[in-house]
Every structure is written in structure tokens, then in C-alpha cells.
């Protein structure tokens, strides 16, 4: 007798789970449209932000699935009225006992006549415990809840054909345990095991070695991004690790029992569990195969989500997946979603097959009645994409690769190898100090690695399915279809034989997939603005309120070390300049390492070098520093951008770890400058210590919060420009982050998050000096001639003092020369470089070196040469570190035994007199990378007090000649007849 589905379900109340999913949405739509007499109760999991009603409206009823119904009803209002009248949404969750229902929900469930359970975690790579809770325990929980409520509605549970496992041959519509190939597994133990694995992994992931690993990984990804961000990233890594391990656990457990993945396994065990614990509830099981887009209902090609074969198809069409395993003659069991919905409705209308309610099984598959061979599917797909190619970003058509149906192992091996290789390359590239366009290489490699990873995931996940050669029997399905009157078949038909695969693949499924994938299907360059232009327009919109800029490599290709090198060498003589530069170069790797570890520590450590530097001199020099160093390395486009923001009325802020006097000349560009500051001592010299926390990492974000609070600015309307992950905190708090010439890590983050990436260049055609060393100053040549005017003018004029300079001209040429002459007159070389280079600027143990007698005697007419340090090296001590060598004025090789051997050394070792034991020049305490060794065993030979020799005199004369004439104290004015005055 034909079953008329609308009539059979009329007046019934149907409880549906999983209605936000692909199948569930189609089911709800069909019930609303084609079964006018029924009422629907939807079980929806409450979202974090939204109530269940909002979630249902947004995620179910707004879907284009309901377009047809809305049109048939004549508009949104009528549709909403229909939904309000016939649909009720209750909050609950199938992964908790009692379904998490409140009283009203329980009442609603109790009042239902049919329960259709289609909630599942269909992701093939879901963690084991989640799959167990949802797929395995879900149906059982429903049955138990119904039992608790004392009702026995017809429970239609949606499962999958793949519960039959990896096997060849017929798979009839019988319960899983009735199959001759069933491996007896106790589902309760599996549940316990899965929960225990989760608990174990959670505990293991918190062990120190693993936490250290996660921290290292977070640091590798984010660099010195500051504590809070690193902590968040570390926690993310831990969670990801636990999830990965659970996925792996699920996959291996499923493979060990002969299922393609944890999804099929948990579904199979779920069927078994339901059979055992259903109580009096009559149960029907519907097992669809691979559900794909609709054949005809509600419209041909309707699909929701993008997780089954679609990613593989699109990857193939984009040329990213050139090999995929599978046997060409194998069956791909695809079934359109509307046929599955039809079958579920037919089962619900028919009621339980067995009078005692024992589960009956209906498989919805095409493999036995209307098979589609894998080879044919590939032909259809490649043929279609040859005719309708996708286009790359340049608007060129993409050729689809030819598949050769290799074995899974081979493809997997290939992909694993390429992924490993790419991961190594990426690691190497990330460790290099690349930025801007160079960092693009790293980003490209990363992109390729991700592609390989994704391809590998597809191969691992879906490969098993393409190789599965089971033929699923559909007798019950055909019987259901046969039981329908012909008029019903249009709406609820579920006979897979109606599918014309050519038409389905070429005209229905592929056009729909391509449309959903949002890929380029038109040739030529895209018209209109590019993404970058759109983002740039947003950034430069008058609605923005604040623009924050980092300095180094964002506005200027320079850093605190180059600024220091320039300032330190500005007042030094050439040999000292070379030495400072050589020292910094030698230290570069350790400085870079320190900078990468912690920017704050680096700044604190590095700024110690300014200790004793005269503050007023540096402030004066910083004006020249801007022209000579900063502007030559500036990015004109970046400076223009700052000014554009200002012109738009945005508040511009410079946030930098550079020192205040270094960035002071940039003041006119910015409304606010947040920078590092150093304290000075009573004599106006820098102490080398910062007055407050340097603005790095998260303190940059705090600085932005402060500014936003002070000026009433909404940071969502702020823009931030920065170049490295150490500025990540700042970038993350604003609404419009911009990565400028990003280093590899930030480039990767910016790509993933869709941030605007700008590459600003230095001025084209100009090559700044390779080394940041201040240029030589002073006279070049002099033309001899009579100059009587100089003496009277000089004699009359008062001595130069800084105050004598006319006001309003703080940075005239005269000032530096004046200061130099003044500072050198006292016989001391000043300046930050001097503090590091000249030996006598550093504290010296008494007696360790003897100061040259009469070093600053006026007789010499020049500042005394610095005390010389000889470093004597004995054979066998060649492997000493570089720094003492650099510090020493002269390295003197000493032959073994020339001044006594080990015995003499031992004799001297016990003495308190430090002269007896000459230690190598100790490294400075502020170089943390180098261990302090207060009593390093004798490596250099005994240093004798220097004696003035002919060679020394020669050298001293040489220094005199090298120096600036103004370095020499002025000769007393020759007695000369005064002018007419």
C-alpha cells in the first residue's frame, strides 16, 4: 500500500537534531515545504554569543536552502510567520547526558512523535573524544532521555554506509554486529578509553618538557612579541597538540579495527550502542554514503558547507593537487542530499520496520544501483575544468593536471617528503634576518608548505574512502521509493537510479562547487580596486582617529645600534672609529640573538654603552644624526604616509625603543612620541640606565591604551604600522594593522590575517654608506696666503661658549666644532664611543696598567694618547675569544718559555699583586652572552709597565698629525702689534 508521506506525518511533531548541518538544513526545509501538517522541534546547541533562537534564525533559516520556500510563500514575512508557527527551537546538546535539556525542552521532546537524529561530527579529522561523545554516545543519549521521559517515539538515527568498514564486496542493510566481518568491540570500553586518552593527553601536555616545547614553538612563530601574546600562543599550541594527538589516536584506533577513520568507527559503535540501550524506543537507522549537492530539491546543486569532496576538487582545479590515490575502477559512492532527505522522510512516515522496534537499516547509496566509477568521475571533472578553467591571480587559465591513479602510499610518501623539505626550508628562512621583499620568499615557501600539508591531509583523510570497494545494498531504499505514489516521488523520491551522472557532475555539482568556492572563473585582471587598494583606502579614511608608527624598518632602515655607532664615532679619530665599528660588527651576532630573545633586555643592555656620555653633546649631535644617518635610510613613502595621516586629522604617534634625543628631530611628524629615555647624573652625563620601561612588546599596546584613554580615541579606529612580531601587541589592539616591510614571521601572520602589507623603499638611486660611521670633519687642504685678519679678530673675540651662538640657530655648523675644541682642551676625549674605546675611560684595577706619566702634559700640545694595552699571546692560546684581541692596542706574540714557564706562572698565581697575574681583558659585565670569568687562568703573558720608546714617540707624533688642528690646544697668541684700535 503506497505511503503518502505528507499525510502520514501530518499532525505529528518531529524532533530534529543537527539542523544546522548540511543534511539537517535540507531536512527542515523539506518538512516545512512538503509536509505542511507537521510541527518541528529543533535541538540547537547554544552558541557562545547567541541564543538558540538567534542561532537558528541565522544559521538555518537564512540559508539559501529556504529561498524556494520563501518565494512560494510570497515573501520573508510569510516565511517568518510559517517558521514561528511551526518551528520551535529548544536548547540542548547531544554530547551531554540528558541532552542538556531544560524542563520545557524535555516537555517538548516528550511531546514528539518522531525523533530524527542527524547531529554528528562529520569532520573526518575530529578528535577521538569528541567523535565518541557526539557520534557514539549521541544516539544512545537520545534513546535514554526518551526512556527517562517514558515516551517511545520513532527514533530515526542517521549513520553512514562506511560503518561497514574497509572491505570489498556487498554490504547489505543489516545491523553492524550481524555482519560476518564484525569485530566484537565493547563500545563502553571505547568510550572510557577515549575519555581517558583525553585526560592523559591533557596531563601530558602540561608536563615541563612539553610546555617548554610549546613555548619554544610560540617564540619561533612570534619572536619577541611580549609575554601575554607568547602565553596565548603557547596555550594555543598546547591545545593544538592535544587535538592532534586525539585525532591521531582516533585514526589509529579506527584503522586497527578496520574502519577508514574515527568517524566511521564511532558511527558503527554508536549504532551498536543504540541497539543495546534503546529500551522500548523503536529505532530506524538511515545510512547515507558520501552526501553531495542536491539533484533537484530544493534546487539542483544546492549545497552547504565545503568539507567533503569539494576541497579536493577545487585543489585539483587550481592545480595544487596533481596526484590523488585511488583505483580508476573503484566506486565513488556519492549520493545527492535530497535523495537522503527523501529517504529519511520516507522512513519517518513508514515508521519502524520491525514491530518490536529493533533497529532497521536503510542505506542511501548509489554504488549498487547506479554506480559511478572513480575513473569516470575524474574524467568528468577534468573534462569540465578543461572547458571551464579557473583563473590564477594574473587572469591566466589554470591547466588541470592529469591524474595517474597512483597508490596511496606513493602519493603520501611524495607529499610527506615535500612537506618535510619545505618545512626545513621555511625554518632556515625564518631564522635569517629577512624582511620586506626578501621575506616574501619565506612567505611563498610557507604557502607551498601549507598547500603540501593540506594535500597530504586530503590524501590521508579521503584516500581511504576512494580505496573502499564495498558495495552498499539498497533494497530497503528501493522498497521505500517503490512504496511512494508517483506524485510523491517528485518531492520525496530516493531512488538513486534516477541520477544521470554526466548531468549531475557537469551541470549540477561542479558549477555549484565552483560558485561556492569563490574562485576566479573569469579571465583577465580583476576590474575595480585590488584588495590592497581597498585596505589602503580604509587605512587612509577620515574616520580613522589615530595612526601609530614603529620607527625601525618601518619609517627608517636603521636601528639603535647604527644610531649608537654614528653618535659614538662622530667625535672620534679615524683609528678609534674603525675600532668601534669592528667591535660592533664582532658583537653583531650576539646582539641580534639578544634582540630576538627579548627586546627590552636588549635595549637595557645596549643602552648601558651610553654610560658617561655627555648628554648635551649627544643632543647636539642628534640633529646631524638625522641628516647624516636617519634621513639617508628613511623610506620616503613611509614619511609621506605619516604626513597623509596628519593631513587627514589623525593623531600620529611614534612608538619606538630608540632614545628620545635620537628621535627628537622627527618631532614635527608626530603629535606624540613614546620612546626610551635615559637618566643623567649630576654632571650632565648619561648613566646608561633607562628612566622607565622601554616601549617594547606589550608595553606598546599599553602606551596605545593610555593615549586612547587620554584623547578619547577608539582603538578600533586606529591604524598601526610596524615591521616585526615584537610589535605584534601594538598591531593587535588596533582596528587597522599594517605590516611594513615585514620580517618573515610577521609577513606570515599578516598573510594569514589579511592585513595590509606595505613595502616601503629607501629613496631610489641613493646608496647610503655601508657602515653607520660619522664622516670625517674638519679642514681638507689649506691654501697658503697672508692672513693678518685672523689674529686681531681672534684676540678681540670672547671665547666661544654654546650660549654665544645666536638664538634660533641651535644646529649651525659651528656648534659641533666648538664643542669638540672645548671638550678636547681638557685633554679628555669625550663622547659615548670614547667611553668604550679609550682604556682610561674604563675603571681599571690599581696597578693593573700603569698610566703613562705626564699623559696630558701641555708640552705635547695634544691630548695624550690613550694608555696602550698590549695583549701578549703565547703559543697554544690561539683559540682565545675575539673581544680581548679587539680591545687590546697591540697583540704581542710571545714565544714559549721566553719569560718563564708554568713554574713561574704558578708562582705568580698565588700573589695578591694583580700585576703578577695578567688576566686577559675581562669581558664587560653588561654582555650577558659571555660568561664572566673573574680569574681566568693565565693566557696572556705578564704585562710590563710600558716604557716610552722611540716607536711610541713615533706613534704619538703620528696621532698628532692625524688629529684635527682644533684638537690641539691653541698656541699662545704670538705677541703682535694690535690694530688701529
Amino acid at each position: 500500500m503506497p505511503v503518502v508521506i505528507p499525510e502520514a506525518l501530518a499532525g505529528k511533531r518531529i524532533f530534529v537534531t543537527g539542523s544546522t548541518g548540511f543534511l539537517g538544513t535540507a531536512l527542515v526545509e523539506r518538512l516545512l515545504r512538503s509536509v505542511p501538517g507537521c510541527e518541528i522541534v529543533l535541538l540547537v546547541r547554544p552558541g557562545r554569543m547567541r541564543s538558540v533562537a538567534q542561532r537558528a534564525r541565522r544559521e538555518i533559516f537564512r540559508n539559501d536552502c529556504f529561498e524556494r520556500l520563501r518565494e512560494e510563500l510570497g515573501g520573508v514575512a510569510a516565511f517568518d510567520e510559517l517558521v514561528d508557527r511551526r518551528v520551535r527551537v529548544v536548547a540542548g546538546d547531544v554530547s551531554t547526558d540528558g541532552l542538556g535539556l531544560d524542563e520545557a525542552g524535555r516537555a517538548a521532546l516528550a511531546s514528539c512523535d518522531v525523533v530524527i537524529h542527524s547531529a554528528a561530527t562529520v569532520s573526518f579529522d575530529s578528535p577521538l573524544d569528541l567523535a565518541v561523545e557526539v557520534n557514539l554516545m549521541g544516539p544512545t543519549r537520545i534513546a535514554r532521555t526518551l526512556g527517562d521521559l517514558g515516551v517511545t517515539p520513532h527514533l530515526v538515527a542517521v549513520s553512514t554506509c562506511y560503518v561497514a568498514g574497509n572491505r570489498r564486496g556487498a554490504a547489505p542493510e543489516i545491523s553492524v554486529h550481524e555482519s560476518p566481518f564484525w569485530v566484537e568491540v565493547d563500545w563502553r570500553r571505547e568510550v572510557e578509553a577515549a575519555r581517558r586518552v583525553r585526560a592523559d593527553l591533557e596531563a601530558e601536555s602540561r608536563t615541563p618538557p612539553l610546555l617548554a616545547r610549546f613555548m619554544a614553538e610560540a617564540r619561533a612563530e612570534l619572536g619577541a612579541a611580549g609575554g601575554p601574546l607568547l602565553a596565548t600562543k603557547t596555550e594555543n599550541r598546547r591545545e593544538a597538540w592535544v587535538k592532534d594527538r586525539l585525532v591521531e589516536a582516533g585514526r589509529s584506533r579506527a584503522a586497527s579495527l578496520g574502519w577508514p577513520d574515527a568517524y566511521a568507527m564511532t558511527k558503527a559503535l554508536g549504532e551498536r550502542a543504540l541497539g543495546e540501550s534503546r529500551g522500548d524506543v523503536p529505532v530506524s537507522i538511515v545510512r547515507p554514503a558520501i552526501i553531495e549537492s542536491a539533484w533537484s530539491q530544493p534546487v539542483p546543486g544546492w549545497i552547504r558547507g565545503f568539507r567533503m569532496a569539494e576541497p579536493v576538487i577545487i585543489s585539483y582545479a587550481r592545480g595544487l593537487l596533481s596526484e590523488f590515490p585511488g583505483v580508476p575502477e573503484g566506486i565513488v559512492d556519492v549520493i545527492p542530499v535530497d535523495l537522503v532527505v527523501g529517504a529519511i522522510c520516507a522512513v519517518a512516515a513508514r515508521g519502524p520496520l520491525h514491530p518490536d522496534g529493533t533497529p532497521d537499516v536503510t542505506q542511501v547509496a548509489s554504488g549498487s544501483a547506479n554506480p559511478l566509477a572513480y575513473g569516470r568521475l575524474v574524467d568528468l571533472v577534468s573534462g569540465w575544468f578543461s572547458e571551464h578553467p579557473l583563473y590564477d591571480s594574473d587572469g591566466q587559465p589554470i591547466n588541470v593536471p592529469e591524474w595517474r591513479f597512483p597508490g596511496r602510499g606513493r602519493v603520501q610518501g611524495q607529499l610527506e617528503r615535500s612537506e618535510r623539505l619545505l618545512a626545513k626550508a621555511e625554518k632556515v628562512l625564518r631564522s635569517l634576518p629577512l624582511r620586506g621583499r626578501q621575506a616574501d620568499v619565506a612567505t611563498t615557501v610557507e604557502e607551498k608548505r601549507e598547500q603540501a600539508e593540506r594535500a597530504l591531509a586530503y590524501v590521508t583523510l579521503y584516500g581511504a574512502y576512494t580505496e573502499c570497494e564495498a558495495i552498499y545494498g539498497v533494497d530497503h531504499l528501493l522498497a521505500l521509493d517503490a512504496a511512494m505514489p508517483d506524485t510523491e516521488r517528485t518531492d520525496f523520491g530516493c531512488d538513486p537510479r534516477v541520477i544521470d551522472w554526466d548531468r549531475y557532475v557537469r551541470s549540477i555539482h561542479l558549477p555549484s562547487v565552483v560558485q561556492h568556492a569563490r574562485v576566479r572563473t573569469e579571465p583577465g585582471r580583476p576590474s575595480g580596486d585590488s584588495r590592497e587598494q581597498r585596505l589602503r583606502r580604509q587605512v587612509l579614511s577620515p574616520d580613522r582617529q589615530l595612526a601609530a608608527f614603529d620607527l625601525e624598518n618601518t619609517l627608517i632602515a636603521s636601528n639603535v645600534v647604527t644610531s649608537y655607532a654614528w653618535l659614538a664615532t662622530r667625535r672620534l679619530r679615524r683609528p678609534d672609529k674603525v675600532r668601534v665599528a669592528a667591535r660592533l660588527l664582532a658583537e653583531a651576532p650576539s646582539l641580534l640573538r639578544l634582540d630576538r630573545r627579548d627586546r627590552s633586555d636588549f635595549l637595557r643592555h645596549f643602552y648601558r654603552r651610553y654610560e658617561d656620555a655627555p648628554a648635551d653633546q649627544l643632543v647636539e649631535d642628534s640633529v646631524e644624526l638625522m641628516s647624516d644617518l636617519l634621513l639617508t635610510r628613511a623610506f620616503p613613502a613611509a614619511i609621506r604616509r605619516v604626513r597623509e595621516h596628519r593631513a587627514l586629522g589623525h593623531r600620529t604617534v611614534l612608538i619606538t625603543g630608540a632614545l628620545d634625543f635620537v628621535v627628537a628631530p622627527l618631532r614635527p611628524l608626530f603629535d606624540d612620541i613614546v620612546c626610551a629615555r635615559m637618566s643623567t647624573d649630576a654632571s650632565g652625563r648619561f648613566t646608561g640606565q633607562m628612566t622607565d620601561v622601554p616601549p617594547t612588546g606589550e608595553s606598546r599596546a599599553s602606551a596605545l591604551f593610555d593615549l586612547a584613554g587620554r584623547y578619547g580615541i577608539d582603538l578600533r579606529e586606529a591604524v598601526a604600522y610596524a615591521d616585526s612580531t615584537s610589535d605584534l601587541a601594538m598591531l593587535e589592539v588596533v582596528g587597522f594593522p599594517v605590516a611594513v616591510n615585514p620580517e618573515a614571521r610577521l609577513a606570515s601572520l599578516a598573510r594569514k590575517r589579511g592585513w595590509l602589507v606595505e613595502s616601503f623603499d629607501k629613496a631610489p638611486g641613493f646608496r647610503p654608506p655601508a657602515l653607520p660611521i660619522a664622516a670625517r670633519r674638519g679642514p681638507r687642504r689649506e691654501w697658503p696666503g697672508p692672513l693678518p685678519f685672523l689674529a686681531p679678530l681672534r684676540a678681540r673675540r670672547p671665547r666661544a661658549t654654546p650660549a654665544a651662538a645666536p638664538p634660533g640657530r641651535p644646529a649651525r655648523e659651528g656648534a659641533p666644532v666648538r664643542a669638540q675644541a672645548g671638550s678636547l682642551r681638557g685633554g679628555r676625549c669625550r663622547g659615548p664611543g670614547a667611553a668604550r674605546v679609550r682604556c682610561r675611560r674604563r675603571p681599571v684595577a690599581p696597578g693593573r696598567r700603569r698610566r703613562r706619566a705626564g699623559a696630558a702634559r701641555p708640552r705635547l700640545a695634544c691630548p695624550a694618547p690613550p694608555t696602550r694595552r698590549h695583549l701578549r699571546i703565547r703559543p697554544g692560546h690561539a683559540r682565545r675569544s675575539l673581544q680581548p684581541l679587539l680591545r687590546a692596542d697591540r697583540v704581542v706574540p710571545v714565544h714559549a718559555g721566553a719569560r718563564g714557564g708554568g713554574r713561574a706562572r704558578r708562582r705568580h698565581a698565588g700573589r695578591a699583586d694583580p700585576r703578577a697575574v695578567v688576566r686577559s681583558a675581562r669581558r664587560r659585565a653588561d654582555v650577558p652572552a659571555v660568561p664572566r670569568r673573574p680569574h681566568q687562568p693565565l693566557r696572556a703573558h705578564r704585562l710590563r709597565p710600558p716604557r716610552t720608546r722611540a716607536a711610541d714617540r713615533l706613534l704619538r707624533d703620528h696621532w698628532r698629525r692625524l688629529g684635527h688642528p682644533l684638537d690641539r690646544p691653541r698656541q699662545p697668541a704670538r705677541p703682535r702689534a694690535r690694530g688701529p684700535r
Binding site: P764, E782, V817, A821
Partner: protein
């Protein structure tokens, strides 16, 4: 006796002509029978005893009392001197400015003057660096004055450093350096390398502010200066002379010292000497040097080439020194400039060809950016005429220069923005003046860089563009041979790979058989077109 300049009619036997092309050279064969080349005169004989000439000029000035008579104890004396833009290239030490300044200081010392300031009169140009100042005034003057803050660059944006002297009858305000305005005597030390320099332009422009300058540095003035190398036909100079009247009436007393140099730009021996010889007179050694130089330059980076060329210092000889009242001095100076540079040319031509060298007044120790290429070609070289332009109205200008998209980040920041922002929108001088000039001129950041760094003023690129306004109006098209297409097109010109291509392209405007004139410059030559 040096040979004067002349016009060569090109025939089949004429060797290829030398074209300067930035930091390089081209040899181009011009079409026979319809081309001519205007050659500069050979360097005039230099003064034998420059010191004596200076002394003479100071002690027996034109229309003025001798300098010692103007000096008295307790007075305020300000010595102003031309900046780095003169001469081109820089002259070998000792610079003539140094010689004159030392002579003036001698007299000042003798007179007991002890309030002396030295100011580089650079208007809106970039500040001179210490090295450049040392080169111009000498180390001794520098060391004696700079440390006391008595030798410095003019600062047109110093709110306290400028003084309003008066207004001309046409409403042009005269605002000059306050120290100069309040001095008892201003001694201006000038180098007149071309006829445009000197006269009242020295003080009224060199010491002025933007507010004052903009009344003669604008499109209207430049379009009505035919040419600005001829002060009697130049609106630019008329305005400066009006301002001069105001200065005469209510400004400080000005003692003008003007000097002229000969054409000895590249020397008569040394690696560059063939550049000032006529091509058919090149010796085997010259040819070999040229070939070697070309081969060497080809292998060098642009930066290296720039460094080599910029380091060249010319062995100029001083041909005259005159001092006294501005007008009288300037007339004599101009006569001396013309004596060296002026070459009579009869009639105009369809195409004017120019070989643009590596240097112009605004890229000394710097980079010649595309805007400066335009200014040098269409501004300076195009205007090297008296009477009528060398090229007829509607004619074509063909220049050789690589025109790279290169900029000096310190010296030309506003040029970069002008090129990227303004020229991307329009190349019409009038529109540029109306839409953009004010915003650049009043930009705080450019002012800051002009005052504290070594940047040209924000408005300076606009003046460069106005400098070519007359030529832009006069010509039908401009073609740059060997220019980087991207930057040449940004300028609104057409790039060509070879001279033959350029002449082919020019035929659109001037027909198949145009007449061609090549101005063989540098050394400097000025055409007196009848």
C-alpha cells in the same frame, strides 16, 4: 688669444658631435646640410694677479666710496656670499669667494670692525654642509667664524631672523635676512657664472623669504621672462630690480662684489680636457681617453659614476672682479659674462638639441633627479639665449640624459613627493601652482628639514617646474634620448632610445626635413639669436 664661439654648419665631413648625457656621454651624428652646432668660445685669459684685482676693486669701486671708507669700528658688517649652486662644477681651491672674503676681512680688521657675520645667501636652497662652507670660504675663515656662530646659512623660515624692509610699487614685499637688514654694511660676494646671476637678484632673492620670493618665482614671471638670462627682457629681474629700489631706499647699504669666471670647466689637460675641445680637433690621446672613459663608465654603478663626476673641481680662471654699487657693478659684470659666453646665431630652428651634463645648480654633491633634468634642459639651457629662443615656437626640444628615477633623500625630500604625487596628477605649471604650491610651501615637515637638515625648501621643486614654464609653452614636444621611459613619461615628455628615433618622433611636429641646432654646452655658451 682664445678663439671666440661660433656656429658650425654640419656637413658630411663633420665628425659625430659630443652630447653630455648625465654621468656619461654620447657621440651623435647630426644630419648634414640642415644642422648646425653652436660652440662656446675658448676660455678667456684669467686675471694674472687675482689678489691685486680684488684689492683694486675694493679700493676703487664703481659708483661708491672705497670699502675702507665704509668701514668703521663698532659697525655691524655682514658678508653674504653665493651658495653651493655656484659655480658649476665647484671651482678648485682657493674659491674666489674665499679670496674676496679674506680681502674684505683684512680691511675690516684694519678698520677695527669686530661685529662681522658671514651668511651663505641660499634663499630656499639647502643649507651648505661644513665641508661645503669650508670649500667656499676657506678653512681659516671657517675656523675663525663658524665656532662663534658668526658664519652660517641663511634661514628663510626663521620667524625671528627675517625683516620686512618695504614694499615695491607693485605690492611685492621685500623681506630679507634680519642680520643683513640691520647691518650698517652688507658686502655681497658673488660669482656670476651666467648672465642670470648677480645684480639685485643676489640680495633680493638670495637673502629673501618665501613670502617675498613668490612674487617673482611664479609661472607668470617665468613665462614673461624671454629669457631670464637677459635681465632687460626678464620679468624675474624686473621684479628683483624693483625690490632693489626698495633696498636702496630703506635697506642696508650694499657693497656688491661681482666676479666672472672663464670657460675653463674641464681644464686644458687631464682626463676631462677633451670635453672642451672641438670634436675635429681631438688628438689621438683625446680619442683614446674618451674611449677608455666610456668603457670604464659603462662598467661602473651609477653611485660610483656620480661620486667621480661630483668630485670634479673646475680649474676656472677669474676674468674680472668689480665692486661698488649694485647697478654699475652688474652692468660691467654682464658685459664680462657676455664676452665669454655670447655667440651670435642667425635665425631660429625647428629642433634644438641639448646634451644635459651631470650637474645643475641644485644637485651639487647630490643626485640629478628627473625634475632637475627638466629644469636644466627646459629652464637653464633652453633660456641660454638673447633676443629669440634658438628653436621656433612649436618646435621640438631633444635632450640626452638617462633621467633615472633617482632622488637624494636628504637634499630633495619634497621633490620625491612632488614627483610621486603632483606630477602623477598633472604637468601643467599653472594648475600645479594653483593646486599644490601653498600646501608644499607651508608644510611644517619640509620647513623643519630645510631649517635643520640639508633639504631644499618644500616649494623648491615647484620653482624648478616653473623654470621650464616658458619652454613648455613654446615647444610642441620634448624628447629625452636615453631617458628611463617611466620617469620621462611622468615628466610629460617622450623617451627615445637613439637620436635617430628622436628625430623620427620629432617629425610629427616639424616635418621630415627639419633644421636642427645643437647648443654645445657645457662649457657655457649663450646664443644671441637675431
Amino acid at each position: 688669444m682664445p678663439r671666440p664661439g661660433f656656429v658650425l654648419d654640419v656637413d658630411r665631413s663633420t665628425p659625430p658631435i659630443l652630447f653630455h648625457s648625465g654621468e656619461g656621454f654620447r657621440l651623435e651624428k647630426l644630419p648634414a646640410e640642415r644642422s648646425r652646432v653652436v660652440y662656446p668660445g675658448e676660455p678667456l685669459a684669467a686675471l694674472r694677479d687675482v689678489e691685486a684685482s680684488i684689492r683694486d676693486a675694493l679700493l676703487s669701486p664703481l659708483d661708491s666710496e672705497p670699502l675702507p671708507a665704509l668701514l668703521r669700528p663698532g659697525m655691524k658688517l655682514t658678508i653674504c656670499f653665493d651658495d653651493i649652486s655656484l659655480p658649476l662644477p665647484q671651482m678648485r681651491r682657493p674659491d674666489i669667494r674665499q679670496r674676496i672674503i679674506e680681502a674684505v676681512l683684512d680691511l675690516a680688521a684694519a678698520a677695527g670692525v669686530d661685529d662681522v657675520h658671514l651668511i651663505a645667501a641660499l634663499a630656499l636652497h639647502r643649507r651648505m654642509t661644513e665641508d661645503e662652507l669650508r670649500h667656499a670660504v676657506g678653512d681659516r675663515v671657517y675656523d675663525a667664524f663658524a665656532p662663534q656662530g658668526a658664519l652660517y646659512n641663511h634661514d628663510a623660515e626663521d620667524p625671528d631672523g627675517m625683516a620686512h624692509v618695504g614694499t615695491t610699487d607693485q605690492g611685492e614685499p621685500v623681506i630679507i635676512n634680519r642680520r643683513a637688514a640691520e647691518s650698517d654694511l652688507v658686502v655681497y660676494v658673488n660669482i656670476n657664472i651666467v648672465a642670470m646671476d648677480g645684480g639685485w637678484k643676489s640680495t633680493a632673492t638670495g637673502l629673501a623669504s618665501y613670502e617675498s620670493l613668490r612674487h617673482h618665482h611664479n609661472v607668470h614671471a617665468m613665462r614673461h621672462s624671454r629669457s631670464f638670462m637677459d635681465r632687460h627682457a626678464s620679468e624675474l629681474h624686473h621684479s628683483n630690480w624693483r625690490m632693489g629700489e626698495v633696498l636702496k631706499a630703506s635697506g642696508p647699504r650694499i657693497f656688491q662684489i661681482e666676479t666672472t669666471l672663464n670657460n675653463d670647466t674641464f681644464g686644458d689637460r687631464g682626463p676631462m680636457s677633451m670635453l672642451q675641445k672641438r670634436e675635429w680637433e681631438w688628438s689621438t690621446r683625446d680619442r683614446a681617453t674618451f674611449v677608455g672613459m666610456q668603457a670604464g663608465l659603462k662598467r661602473m654603478s651609477m653611485a660610483t659614476r656620480r661620486r667621480i663626476f661630483q668630485s670634479w673641481e673646475a680649474p676656472y680662471g677669474v676674468t674680472s672682479v668689480q665692486a661698488g654699487a649694485v647697478d654699475a657693478v652688474h652692468e660691467r659684470t654682464i658685459a664680462n659674462v657676455h664676452r665669454q659666453q655670447l655667440v651670435p646665431v642667425s635665425g631660429q630652428t625647428d629642433i634644438l638639441t641639448l646634451g644635459l651634463p651631470y650637474i645643475c645648480p641644485y644637485n651639487v654633491n647630490s643626485i640629478m633627479n628627473p625634475i632637475l633634468v627638466m629644469c636644466l634642459g627646459l629652464g637653464y639651457f633652453f633660456n641660454m639665449y638673447r633676443g629669440r629662443p634658438l628653436v621656433r615656437e612649436g618646435g621640438v626640444l631633444v635632450m640626452t640624459h638617462p633621467t633615472p628615477w633617482d632622488f637624494h633623500p636628504v637634499h630633495h625630500p619634497s621633490y620625491i613627493d612632488f614627483f610621486e604625487q603632483v606630477l602623477a596628477e598633472t604637468t601643467d605649471p599653472v594648475e600645479i601652482e594653483q593646486r599644490y604650491e601653498k600646501s608644499f610651501a607651508e608644510d611644517e615637515w619640509y620647513k623643519h628639514l630645510y631649517r635643520t637638515s640639508y633639504a631644499y625648501h618644500g616649494v623648491h621643486p615647484f620653482y624648478m617646474w616653473y623654470w621650464g614654464a616658458h619652454a613648455l609653452q613654446h615647444l610642441s614636444q620634448v624628447i629625452i634620448v636615453g631617458g628611463e621611459p617611466r620617469s620621462v613619461r611622468r615628466l610629460g615628455f617622450r623617451p627615445a632610445t637613439t637620436m635617430a628615433d628622436a628625430l623620427e618622433m620629432a617629425s610629427d611636429s616639424v616635418g621630415r626635413e627639419p633644421t636642427i641646432t645643437h647648443l654645445h654646452n657645457p662649457p657655457l655658451v649663450m646664443a644671441d639669436v637675431s
